[in-house]
């Protein structure tokens, strides 16, 4: 494998074939010109990269627990501040947290909010695969409306998850962070640009990255990029950034594809294509359109 590509996260980790997060991690860390220290929430990335006695991490790394990756990096970052002041550490170091959507939207929400409010100098990256994939596909507050999971299965009385995803980007931005951006593993130049900007910005920064899960979204391993691409082309996952409170959409088209194009690629939405559930697809289309209009209205 390309040595430059694997200089931070080695090959040989045990993530599934067709998993998006190795690409996300490597792309983001590749944009740092200075050494990095990582904190990682419990989840797929953690268990597939640190199985003792091996580690895929070629950079200093700490996994503490599920809900406290942001609090953990808070401690690391302040330790750095004081030890640098005392002259015990000389080098410039950047701090990056990786967590899934469960560790970010749900159980790690308070820890993240606290760290953003306190203004630690770090980048928080949420790889969002829309559910608890490490424990076998249960719903999180990032699971899309209509998706079937093991805890929101479709059935006679249910079309899957009946609640709308939490809008974490706006919540992060409401902390007054200098930079927050939504990105997608299928748009690497855009992800690189955002990672570089986030790493170069002083203070807490936030990246929310679309990360398809082959196992639990139920699609062939070869498809993760094309499915991720459809998410943006349908406006299901717009690429945008919020810099010092200013919204900017990074990718748009006159004619977005119907959301159905995205939904039909994955087993988790299969039940929506039954006669009974067809109206749900219309509902999702309306939600996607409304959210994109709202986003566009926020751009000056």
């Amino acid at each position: 494998m390309n040595k430059e590509l694997t200089k931070n996260l080695a090959s040989g980790h045990s993530a599934c074939a067709g998993c998006a997060f190795p690409t996300i991690v490597r792309t983001i860390l590749g944009e740092s010109d200075v050494p990095v220290v990582i904190s990682n929430a419990t989840g797929c990335l953690e268990v597939t990269s640190t199985l003792y006695p091996y580690t895929a991490w070629k950079v200093p790394y700490i996994h503490n627990a599920f809900e406290n990756a942001a609090a953990t990096i808070s401690g690391v970052e302040r330790a750095y501040k004081i030890l640098k002041k005392k002259g015990k550490i000389k080098k410039e170091i950047k701090f990056v947290t990786f967590a899934g959507d469960g560790g970010t939207y749900d159980i790690g929400f308070q820890s993240l909010s606290g760290a953003l409010e306190r203004g630690h100098n770090f980048l928080y990256v949420c790889y969002d695969n829309g559910g608890y994939m490490n424990t076998g596909n249960q719903r999180s507050s990032a699971t899309p409306f209509g998706a079937a999971t093991e805890t929101t299965p479709s059935g006679k009385m249910s079309f899957g998850k009946m609640e709308v995803r939490k809008n974490l980007m706006d919540i992060a931005a409401a902390h007054g962070v200098p930079y927050a951006a939504q990105a997608n593993v299928a748009y690497l130049p855009d992800l690189k640009k955002k990672a570089r900007k986030a790493l170069e910005t002083e203070g807490p920064t936030f990246l929310l990255v679309f990360s398809p899960c082959t196992n639990n979204w139920k699609f062939p391993t070869s498809q993760f990029v094309s499915i991720a691409k459809l998410a943006t082309e349908t406006n299901f996952w717009p690429l945008y950034e919020i810099e010092k409170g200013k919204y900017k959409i990074n990718w748009a088209t006159e004619k977005p594809k119907p959301v159905e194009e995205f939904l039909k690629t994955q087993g988790r939405f299969k039940h929506l294509f039954s006669e009974k559930n067809k109206p749900v697809i219309g509902q999702i289309q309306k939600m996607v359109d409304a959210e994109f209009r709202r986003l566009a209205s926020l751009v000056e």
Partner: protein, 375 residues
């Protein structure tokens, strides 16, 4: 009084903050909870006045306080925190991770009751709940002890690579003023020394992975290693106490004995109730009762051998627990019973800050109270 020491009247909470100021740790991550607040308020004032270099992280919960401590300690910084009660209960998950990762974090605890019902006053329910989490637990009975054992605890943690709790009774000790003696800052600094960890996150050229997954083939060994580390604590603590005796003139032991030599009845207790018991013993002895007190200072690891030696010839042992264990024998009573291989008289006192009076102790020793409670 030794050379260059200073006499002051301080509360236990202030004494803890004073000791922490002299240690001047790199990082303190804290969240307020009664009756721990005096410690972090006084320390924050030291910070605001430029008397310490410490980075104080005012986190949004105790869970994040101990999580940030694990991060800071793994990063290579000398790290401290303080809490009480619900706060310690909220930290519980990460207490095990702190010890599992062998982080030498020092935590001051103003021991307090656990809800429900809500109660902000002193007892040992909180620290008893954390007794098997892989932390060394040292009890203090006076503000002087809090000051001394904070300094000792920091050195011990780094020596044995285990997290250490230094415990005072909420309000009884944390808010009570006592005349006490503090050392010069330089003496304390010299005593605790520089913290130089072997492996740490900020050592960029030697990357380490902290907190990996360990399955059936290695998890067991990790936990056994942690258990084995506890076997070194008693010996190291003895050495550190001795060294501390040289600079302070105050000598401490894992267990403290009061009038045990000829005692036919021995009371066993931990924390601030020791003073009340000693006064009761003095009065009882005037009436001819041969009674003494054994105070347990080091609770984890539990000094079974020394306790056994101290109690072996005693006719009657009465153990006071400031914690109520449900559906089982009381915690300290069980430990003592295990140490000496026979039954002890077990009594629960002081829950939720309930005062304990000399007369209650005297009635207990005389056999007038068989209820099992000092209600």
């Amino acid at each position: 009084m030794t050379k260059n020491s200073k006499k002051l009247a301080l509360t236990g909470g202030y004494a803890a903050a004073e000791a922490l100021k002299q240690i001047n740790p790199d990082v303190m991550a804290v969240y307020p909870i009664t009756p721990q607040t005096p410690i972090i308020e006084v320390f924050s004032k030291f910070k605001s006045d430029g008397e310490v270099d410490t980075e104080v992280i005012h986190v949004e919960s105790e869970h994040s306080a101990i999580s940030a401590c694990v991060g800071s300690s793994a990063a290579g910084a000398r790290t401290v925190t303080a809490t009480s009660s619900q706060g310690l209960a909220l930290m519980n998950e990460i207490l095990y991770i702190a010890s599992g990762l062998r982080r030498p974090i020092l935590m001051l605890v103003s021991a307090r009751a656990l809800a429900a019902p809500l109660n902000i006053h002193g007892d040992h329910s909180d620290v008893m709940g954390a007794r098997d989490s892989g932390w060394v637990q040292i009890f203090c009975s006076t503000p002087q002890e809090v000051y001394d054992k904070t300094i000792v605890g920091m050195k011990l943690a780094e020596k044995v690579k285990l997290p250490v709790m230094v415990i005072m009774d909420g309000f009884n000790t944390s808010h009570s003023v006592e005349n006490m003696e503090i050392l010069e800052k330089e003496a304390v600094q010299k005593f605790v020394g520089e913290y130089s960890p072997e492996k740490y996150l900020l050592d960029i050229d030697n990357p380490v992975t902290f907190g990996p997954v360990a399955l059936q083939n290695s998890y067991f060994e990790f936990r056994k290693d942690l258990s084995d580390a506890f076997d070194t604590v008693e010996g190291e603590l003895e050495k550190i106490y001795e060294e501390y005796g040289h600079i302070s003139g105050r000598s401490y032991k894992k267990i403290e004995k009061y009038k045990l030599e000829d005692a036919e009845k021995i009371l066993v207790a931990m924390g601030s109730v020791g003073g009340t018991i000693k006064d009761a013993i003095d009065k009882l002895r005037e009436d001819g009762e041969k009674v003494g007190l054994l105070e347990i200072s080091l609770f984890r690891p539990f000094p079974y051998e020394e306790v056994k030696k101290a109690l072996k010839d005693t006719k009657e042992v009465i153990v006071l627990d400031r914690n109520l264990a449900f559906g089982t024998k009381q915690v300290l009573a069980s430990e003592i019973s295990h140490s000496i291989g026979k039954k002890v008289k077990s009594v629960v006192y002081g829950l939720g800050g309930r005062d304990t009076f000399q007369k209650q102790i005297m009635d207990l020793v005389k056999g007038d109270n068989q209820s099992g409670y000092l209600l």
